[in-house]
């Protein structure tokens, strides 16, 4: 197990390397001028040139790259060109809303999607199945922000049940936290629910056709036990996998959801940084998200071993 983890971490290094190189090149070979953004509306060419020089943007690309890699290896993500704040500080400030949103959304998705998928598979071809399947196709088909606006209009404005925007730390009390996180989390989970419900259903259909399910029924077990004790655990591996790959979807959704609900999270930070050509911040953030992606998938792979005793690393 330990050697497996070690191997996976080693394997992640080239992946992160690819990400780093790719992002760096993408940013530097394309036009964009952080100096112009810093300077604002009134600036003469001379002034811009001086600002560029003071940001170190005049150095050759290779020098910039190795400076950055050197910093990275010493654990330093650099400093924002625009706000002069260390990237780690920026990320630290924005981590909580995004983390809260993502975790609540994942929890919500699993709580809704897994039972829905199980029921759909159980009543394969029946009413519940059709309902779940059409619901999930629909979930894929409506843009996240449209869902967001609809939820705001309905629950926050018309019914006045929730605030329309904002974020409160969970440490400031569960009530204020919850009332602000419910709508964004639900908005974010729509695609995720669709994804997980479909996968759960498909995986359960696979498993329900297995011999050991017939064995379980032949033992006279109740359907509830058959479904949840015997089938679901066997169906869990692909479901977990889709949760892992769906994590990428979630990051995309986070960007939009944070904008609609005005959550000061990493998604908005990234978009802002891309628009402002704040290179160190973009690089740091994309490395971070890729790292999280790799880590989540490693965790999920490891969790297979807990779900399925046949899997040993």
């Amino acid at each position: 197990m330990l050697s497996y983890i070690l191997r996976r971490i080693l394997a992640a290094i080239p992946v992160m390397g690819v990400v780093a190189l790719f992002v760096f090149l993408l940013l530097r070979i394309t036009p964009g001028d952080p100096a112009a953004i810093i300077a604002g509306d009134m600036a003469t060419p001379e002034q811009l040139e001086r600002i560029r020089a003071s940001l170190g943007l005049n150095q050759p690309i290779t020098v910039q790259f190795f400076t950055w890699i050197g910093q990275l290896l010493s654990g330093d993500l650099g400093t924002s060109l625009i706000s002069q704040t260390p990237v780690t500080t920026l990320i630290g400030q924005r981590l909580e809303p995004t983390l809260s949103l993502a975790l609540v959304a994942i929890t919500l998705s699993i709580l809704i999607a897994v039972p829905a998928g199980v029921m759909a598979a159980w009543r394969h071809g029946g009413f519940i199945d059709n309902l779940v399947m059409s619901g999930s196709v629909l979930g894929f088909s409506i843009p996240v922000f449209v869902i967001g606006y609809m939820l705001i209009q309905l629950f926050a404005i018309d019914l006045g049940l929730f605030p329309v925007q904002g974020f409160r730390s969970i440490f400031s009390g569960i009530g204020p936290f919850a009332e602000r996180i419910v709508l964004p989390a639900f908005t974010l989970s729509t695609i995720y629910i669709a994804l997980i419900a479909r996968m759960t259903r498909a995986s359960m259909l696979d498993v329900l056709g297995e011999d050991y399910i017939r064995t379980a029924r032949a033992k006279g077990l109740t359907e509830r036990l058959v479904l949840f004790r015997h089938a679901l655990r066997n169906a869990a591996v692909p479901i977990l996998t889709v949760i892992g790959t769906g994590f990428a979807f979630m990051i995309s959704g986070v960007v939009v959801t944070e904008s609609v609900f005005n959550l000061p999270g990493l998604g908005r930070l990234t978009v802002d940084a891309i628009l402002a050509r704040d290179y160190p911040v973009i690089q740091g953030l994309i490395l971070l998200t890729s790292f999280i992606y790799v880590a989540v998938n490693l965790l999920i792979d490891l969790s297979y071993a807990f779900l399925d005793p046949r899997i040993r690393y």
């Binding site: 112009a36 009134m42 706000s83 050509r277």
Partner: protein
Amino acid sequence: MALFNASRSTLSGAIRAGAAAAALLMALQNGLAAAPKTITAVMHSGVRVLDPVITTAHITRNHGYMIYDTLLAIDEKFQPQPQMASWAVSDDGLTYTFTLRDGLKFHDGAPVTAEDCVASLKRWAQRDGGGQMMMGSVASLEATDAKTINLKLKEKFSLVLDLLAKPSAIPTFIMPKRIAETPADKAISEHIGSGPFKFVAAEYQPGVKVVYEKNTDYVPRSEPPSATSGGKVVKVDRVEWITMPDAQTTVNAINNGEIDYIEQAPWDLLPLVTSNKDLNVVTLNKLGQQTMGRMNWLYPPFDNPKIRRAALLALNQKDVLAALVGNPEYYKVCGSMYGCGTPLATDVGSKTLTGDGDVEGAKALLKEAGYDGTPVTLLQATDVTTLTAQPIVAAQLLRKAGFTVDMQPMDWQTLVGRRASQKPPAEGGWNLFFTNWVIPEVWNPVVNPMLNGRGKTGGWFGWPEDAKLDAMRAEFVKVATPEERKAIAARIQEHALEVVNYVPLGQYDVPGVWNKKLTGLLFSPVPVFWNAEIKD
């Protein structure tokens, strides 16, 4: 002037007497853990750059007004007024002596000295266009004692006070000397001013949230507040600026009582707030803003003055403003490059712009100039609501006159980077773009960044080389009387429109929206938070 405040006089009288008591009371309240009085404001953009000198971004300027004090300031009639310092001018008009008032203290406790002011002014002058011009005429600028600053001119320069008092784009914010000695092209890293609010570094989230708390040591002037001048009396404990990227969300939030103030509410969403009895919808910046288009003089087709002129003839303000603002209550056609409602306003040379344009004239001129169909690379900002309409309307009007238009959509930040490129349009350059100014940034030929003929090295984006313009500008700073100034300004405009330095496309107001429990907001060209009060 205080808004919605009936008892102005009692107020000013009570200020000083009450200051100490109020502070004491406040401390007591805080001790009793009462909620601090906080204004939650949504500004037009997030604060990302904290150095109000390196950037001309309005949000950073607004930030500057919170934590810094300015040497001079303007009143509601745009006249220079003493703020940190009062002044005296020698009879020959070549020596200015500024004397700092008592009680000025930086947030770190150090007193404000003349040295600090000189360092700050020097840094300001490196970055500010008007400042640069002024320094060309300055013989010396030095602190003669702790409270006195001496400015000596080599030659006549009549705009010294106007420049030191101007509210935008870079006002004369005073910082401690050690900070002001940072090179002007490097952002400062400490944010210590002597202004009415203190910056709360711990709660600063770039682009998301800035928090200011009352500077209890601040000694306001005794005059009533007027625009950026007068007594800056702070009546709340905290001001929080938060950024909302989505206008719809912002409007919903103020309707729901989640925020107190929107600096700039989008016109089209006003129907959603005007129906709410708890909200005020008022334009605080009465001068408003100017929208304009600028051509690149370096490359075809706009290297040809006739074609520039044809483009100007093709455009008209009404169509642009109607598409941009919609509601006529919030815009006015304005033929002045210096903005309407300003001392120098004139409509000379702008007849077609304020009228319906002259498509036929444009066509004729294009033909005469031998326009060969070279496409006009038009940069369009897609993410700033006050900038999306101009390119669309302009493209339509230019095409009608016979231009080929290649509209290139991009986000504003990309546009900002791209317009700085002096390469040909095909290689990442451009021909035409649009932007907006607050009127104090264009209201005279010295501060107006476009009216500058120094070409590829010293000019503003578009880089016109125009010796005649520069000569007239030099003349402008020397004359003393308002009448003379006005005359030269009119000549400059006539010339500038003839060669098409830029195309003023009209003036508009952006209303602010706030909850009625918030009172005392001031009419001012920049949003300020002193004098504002909030009820629970």
